[in-house]
């Protein structure tokens, strides 16, 4: 009896040890970390764009999908190798301060103002996005703000500032969540929200919100990619990072980006097509 118990416990320990070791093996694979925004990952673009690169260079691209502010912070701290975001001023600052190198414009789409079909603030009749935002504020209609320092949040704050409005009060709700989650909240609370077109299109089937305003020059939404500066962070995989940055503007990638459709509509546009 004593013996069989000993054998049993040895078996158990061995089993657990194997479990530990096999999970340790997974850690050893070569990888490169791409910090990016929820709008590029949740739409499914990266899932079709990255595999050819991964195959060619025999590497795994690990995507951390967060807001633009957080993605740039990961780059500053050296916790990512490449950053793909959409907030041009912050990107330029990131490069100017020496955190990033070789910044390239990758693609663009635009922001849209979403709202309930009934459009209580009458945003649809606005002639500019500034007027649209003014109407929402005057009407004190519920407005859902990302409130997470993401590219979309930064753009939204820019628009408020240009409209000369300090959004505050019960109607202005900063939720601190990703684009999709925020759209859900706006939907549930019958509010307005600023969204990138890509995320809206991929959520179209799951929300009752509609585009109530679009087409203003201010709503242009460009994406930029850059490598983390190896002089600041010697551990980053700079060579691979540069290959990835260049891949994003290669003919192969441009082809994939332009032919990427969701619900029959093109989500992202490259510059030279």
């Amino acid at each position: 009896m004593k013996l069989s118990k000993k054998i049993l416990s040895i078996f158990l320990l061995a089993f657990l040890l194997v479990a530990v070791i096999t999970s340790a093996n997974v850690f050893a694979k070569e990888r490169i970390i791409l910090a990016t925004t929820t709008s590029t990952d949740n739409t499914g673009l990266l899932a079709v764009l990255l595999p050819p690169f991964e195959e060619k260079f025999n590497v795994e691209v690990h995507i951390i999908a967060v807001g633009t502010g957080r993605a740039l912070e990961l780059g500053r701290n050296g916790d990512a190798d490449v950053v793909l975001v959409h907030a041009r001023e912050q990107e330029l600052e990131f490069v100017e301060q020496g955190y990033g190198v070789n910044r390239l414009d990758v693609m663009y789409n635009d922001f849209v103002v979403l709202g309930p079909k009934s459009d209580p603030a009458g945003v649809a009749s606005a002639s500019s996005v500034l007027e649209a935002f003014k109407k929402i504020a005057e009407n004190k209609s519920v407005f859902i703000s990302r409130g997470d320092n993401s590219g979309t949040h930064v753009k939204e704050l820019d628009i408020w500032a240009l409209a000369g409005i300090t959004p505050e009060g019960n109607w202005y709700r900063a939720v601190g969540q990703g684009m999709g989650a925020s759209i859900n909240i706006a939907d549930q609370s019958g509010g307005y929200i600023l969204s990138d077109r890509g995320t809206y299109l991929s959520y179209k089937d799951q929300t009752d919100l509609v585009i109530v305003f679009q087409g203003d020059e201010l709503l242009f939404n460009p994406y930029g990619i850059m490598a983390v500066n190896p002089e600041l962070h010697p551990h980053v995989k700079f060579d691979l990072a540069m290959e990835l940055v260049n891949y994003f503007v290669s003919e192969e990638a441009i082809e994939i980006i332009n032919s990427f459709l969701v619900a029959g509509e093109q989500l992202f546009f490259t510059y030279n097509d």
Partner: protein, 241 residues
């Protein structure tokens, strides 16, 4: 109402078809949580045993600290570990952030207080007579300690299960430390959180059902293990209170 039913049906289909991504997510979750529970048990059971059976100065203070740690929020543990293993942190050179190892570290810290505290409770109220008898009959202190642990084993197994239950179900630390990377650090809970935010409720519900199934099978396994050892011990004439 209709869409909840549809979501549940789709969830069952996903599970029964052994969808690749579902399997990879579930197996990572189980592996990571088992590993951290194992490490936490190896450290936590001795700590709990010492706190439960030995009398020394500062014991009540340590007990209070341990009980406080029971309610530590997972995101706080996540944040603390994050700041240590980020490239800017003291252990940044190891490059642990956004790896399964990072999740294991966070989960081990989360499971440790529960396992220690429950082991402490299990051994504290045990009969001193047992210890005294064992020692007076010539057992060494280590032998006597093993005897006590054997008597408390059901409660200790319960402590380990409680620890596993906490870590397999937590999302805060896993999200922050693992980064929710597909096929690498995406666990059941971080995937549920992602799919919910993407509006894909059926996938989220499927993963939720799997999470419950995992917990259920672990508990079932432990139940049979206990039955088996109990029967074995009755056969050999050992008696347990």
């Amino acid at each position: 109402m209709d869409y909840i039913v549809r979501a549940v049906i789709q969830a069952v289909q996903l599970i029964t078809s052994f969808d690749d991504s579902v399997i990879s997510i579930a197996s990572l979750s189980i592996r990571v949580s088992l590993t951290s529970t194992l490490i936490a048990s190896l450290i936590g059971i001795p700590i709990g045993f010492i706190l439960g059976t030995c009398k020394f100065r500062g014991r009540s203070l340590l007990t209070s600290i341990l009980n406080t740690l029971l309610s530590i929020p997972t995101v706080v543990v996540g944040l603390a570990v994050y700041s240590v293993i980020s490239r800017r942190g003291p252990l940044g050179e190891l490059g642990l952030l956004f790896t399964p190892t990072a999740i294991i570290i966070g989960q081990t810290i989360l499971a440790l207080p529960i396992i220690s505290a429950l082991t402490m409770n299990a051994t504290r109220d045990m009969d001193r007579v047992l210890w005294n008898t064992a020692v007076s009959l010539g057992s060494s202190r280590v032998q006597a300690a093993i005897l006590l642990l054997k008597h408390a084993r059901f409660a200790i197994v319960g402590a380990v299960i409680a620890g596993f239950g906490r870590v397999v179900a937590e999302v805060g630390a896993s999200m922050m430390l693992g980064g929710n990377i597909a096929n690498y650090t995406r666990t059941l809970t971080t995937a549920i959180s992602l799919e919910t935010s993407k509006g894909d409720f059926s996938f989220a519900i499927a993963l939720g059902i799997i999470l419950l199934l995992v917990s259920f099978s672990v508990n079932l396994g432990v139940y049979f293990f206990q039955q088996w050892t109990r029967r074995a011990s009755i056969k050999t004439g050992e008696r347990y209170s």
